[in-house]
Symmetry: C2
Subunit: 203 residues, 2 copies
């Protein structure tokens, strides 16, 4: 399998950590795609109709994209350790937590950074400063809500490490580009993040 | 089961169509939540930490939120007709198509409408006109890409009707609030939409 990826971009990183947790990262060939140029060309648009990364090329040549869908595939082929739920009901609740941190923490952080960071001006044309400011406020407010939640349980989705922890970890790390380090402001996030960073896949 | 929902909002509608396709819509009690006021109050935030709809209250009192996660649960409890894939590999490819139309068509449409429509000013404070304009351009461009894709296959994810068709249908209908009717501009979308509207769940 080949993974089309891009440096710094948080979505491919989610898949890379997922592969590391499964212990199969070294079996996948990484192919770097330049987001501002190459991703917009027809060659990459054959891999992803909207020109995004990550894309996983399967051994039969099929192209599978969207970070979470790639993880669903990997989970099927390499079921251990389980990261997305052992049955439909578990899958639903983990998907709930994963989408909550994705939509309400990761997206506001991503919109804030993409619309304000000079280094990402080629990716958002035009950058919208008002939207960056509004997204920053949402990101800070929702990060505080997640901090409260992490005071009630060891991991984002409950007792076990899951894909939702990978999503939150990548989201919060991306906030550093906005000089926001939630683990310096929120005690429960700090404890949780230390625990994540002790895992072999994250060290 | 109770579904906390809101009129006009496109995300609860995705769950409502999913329930209708499963033939169990009448078994679920609908509870309307006023988004601009009630959703922001502690009572609803006990149901959803970020105060959103839809939320499905299970018979044991557990709260399950995020539209797609609710569908994952319903699919497990009521497997027929299958709408999300019969095994992990099918689930992954359907999830890819679902997220592609969700992230690249539905979100730009939603951002455009939420940041420009006077009737939604209470939901996005502040509304960002530049972001609305940029999102409208993305929505129109990506809708044209989806039109090309729908010329190659009968449904969004391939040969069969799936959850991804529900997502696209709700997204495009929401665009009417911006006076954009993609089916009047794009022939393949028009043919596909006619087919969807002939289904009992959509009539």
């Amino acid at each position: 399998m080949k993974l089309y990826t891009a440096k710094i971009a948080p979505n491919p990183l989610r898949v890379e950590y997922f592969l590391k947790e499964k212990g199969i990262f070294d079996e996948v060939e990484l192919v770097q795609v330049e987001l501002a140029t190459e991703a917009k060309e027809p060659g990459h648009q054959k891999r992803h109709i909207f020109g995004r990364v990550p894309v996983l090329e399967l051994d039969d040549g099929q192209m599978l994209s969207e970070s979470r869908a790639i993880c669903t595939y990997i989970e099927e082929i390499y079921p251990n350790p389980n990261l997305m739920g052992k049955n439909g009901v578990e899958r639903a609740f983990i998907e709930m937590h994963d989408r909550q941190v994705e939509f309400h923490v990761f997206f506001p952080i991503a919109n804030w950074i993409r619309h304000s960071h000079p280094g990402l001006a080629d990716l958002e044309i035009p950058q919208c400063p008002d939207w960056a400011a509004s997204s920053e406020a949402t990101a800070r407010k929702n990060t505080a809500i997640i901090d409260v939640e992490l005071g009630k349980k060891p991991y984002v989705a409950g007792d076990n490490f899951t894909i939702a922890d990978i999503t939150l970890y990548c989201a919060l790390n991306f906030a550093r580009l906005g000089r926001f380090k939630p683990w310096e402001e929120h005690a429960n996030i700090a404890i949780w993040r230390e625990k994540i960073m002790e895992r072999p896949a994250f060290s």
